[in-house]
């Protein structure tokens, strides 16, 4: 195998989308952590968004498939956990793709405050903007939504329920 540029491999991997978020590829979502050539084997490190995310198995299989299609039949997909994936890595252009798809992007900084604050019933109020009408007059319905990575909200202006990709 001739030497390959990391950027070329990442470009190939951009064909793989998160099955729950078909408008975002796994490179911009931060699931792909590293790409390295070990001898004649290509190693791709991926990290899960949530411990139990069912999409990871699909993503792992699709990474192997898309690399094989491009001639990298010996690719090895390794799952790494450190550093733990966070929505803080998300770029503004990726956040815009969420809005365009009808999902509010993560807001605020993940992991703020200790346990005393978590059990206090007092929440640092973070405004979640409605992805449909851009109103800030929205209410959180539940921190747990249709997938592990989303919470449920309601827009009081356009009366539309919507998901947010929650901060973690």
């Amino acid at each position: 195998m001739v030497s390959v540029a990391k950027e070329d491999i990442l470009e190939i991997l951009r064909a793989v989308k998160d099955p729950e978020l078909p408008f975002i590829d796994i490179v911009e979502l931060g699931i792909v952590r590293d790409v390295e050539l070990e001898g004649d084997t290509l190693r791709v490190d991926i990290t899960p968004t949530y411990s139990g995310c069912p999409a990871m198995q699909v993503i792992e299989r699709e990474v192997s498939e898309v690399l094989a299609e491009n001639g990298y039949v010996n690719a090895r997909v390794r799952t790494v956990y450190s550093p733990a994936w966070t929505t803080d890595w998300m770029s503004e252009s990726t956040k815009q793709k969420f809005r365009d798809y009808g999902i509010a992007p993560p807001s605020g900084v993940a992991q703020h405050g200790g346990i005393a604050e978590l059990v206090s019933l007092r929440r640092a109020r973070v405004t979640v903007e409605c992805p449909y009408c851009r109103s800030s007059n929205t209410t959180e319905r539940s921190e747990f939504g249709s997938t592990a990575c989303k919470s449920i909200h309601f827009c009081n202006s356009c009366h539309q329920p919507f998901d947010q990709f929650k901060s973690i």
Partner: protein
């Protein structure tokens, strides 16, 4: 050493596997849609954490077993979870009080395990810690809402606490393996975790207008494979498909 580490990882994995399975019993039966979804999400997080921990336990053990074999082909006496997590889901108050007592423990435990000298365990703990932050907010809010709610919700929540409280000391019961892990910098000193748990739990229960019972601790032994009859019934159901069709995939 490696057998102690794999046994320790199995304890961590089994607590989360068994509790995750018990929570999943609510799927499709939640009192309101949002709670049905919330408990299914939390169950998924716990089973995900268990998968990672049991995978690492199996690799550390080095006997060629997988995380699925540990989950589906071990018998009751080989499970290492505490009694608290193995009882059936009960009513919503029982599920919430149990979840709260465990979530606060898990929060402090995973916070410490992020500093583990075992790099894989540290990474898994850092991932799980972020998830438990959401769990503990959910369960603590419900404990206050139910405890300080109507006479009916208060009575049910107090009854759940009365039934569950005596199973909490087992979480902090350290044996030779816990001490070995603490000495090697792999796991935390459970005696140091206990006061942190106490402080948060007592604060929330007081705000929920609940009274901590003074019952003596129940029999322990889950870490050694001595369980209540509840675990056997649960595993019979949980493991039935895998055992009827070994090696099946879909």
């Amino acid at each position: 050493m490696s057998s102690s580490v794999s046994d320790y990882l199995m304890r961590l994995g089994d607590d989360r596997l068994v509790l995750g399975h018990r929570l999943s019993e609510w799927c499709g039966h939640g009192p309101i849609l949002e709670e049905d979804i919330a408990l299914a999400n939390i169950a998924l997080d716990l089973i995900g954490q268990a998968t990672l921990l049991l995978k690492l336990a199996a690799e550390t053990e080095g006997k060629g077993r997988t995380e699925d074999e540990l989950a589906f082909f071990r018998d009751t006496v080989d499970f290492r979870n505490v009694h608290l997590v193995e009882f059936p889901k009960g009513d919503y108050a029982f599920t919430i009080v149990r979840q709260f007592l465990f979530d606060v423990f898990s929060y402090h435990l995973l916070e410490e395990l992020q500093k583990s000298r075992n790099a894989e365990l540290s990474g898994i703990a850092a991932k799980g810690f972020k998830e438990v932050r959401y769990h503990v907010r959910h369960s603590s809010e419900w404990v206050v809402r139910l405890g300080d709610g109507t006479p009916e919700s208060h009575a049910r929540t107090q009854k759940a606490l009365n039934e569950l409280w005596r199973f909490t000391p087992e979480m902090f019961e350290a044996d030779a393996i816990d001490r070995e892990m603490a000495g090697a910098g792999i796991g935390p000193d459970l005696a140091a975790v206990k006061p942190k748990w106490d402080s948060i739990v007592r604060d929330v229960l007081a705000r929920a207008t609940l009274t901590i019972p003074d019952d003596p601790p129940a029999m322990t032994g889950g870490r050694k494979g001595r369980h209540t009859e509840a675990l056997g019934h649960m595993l019979a159901e949980m493991q039935s498909v895998a055992r009827a069709h070994p090696g099946a995939s879909w």
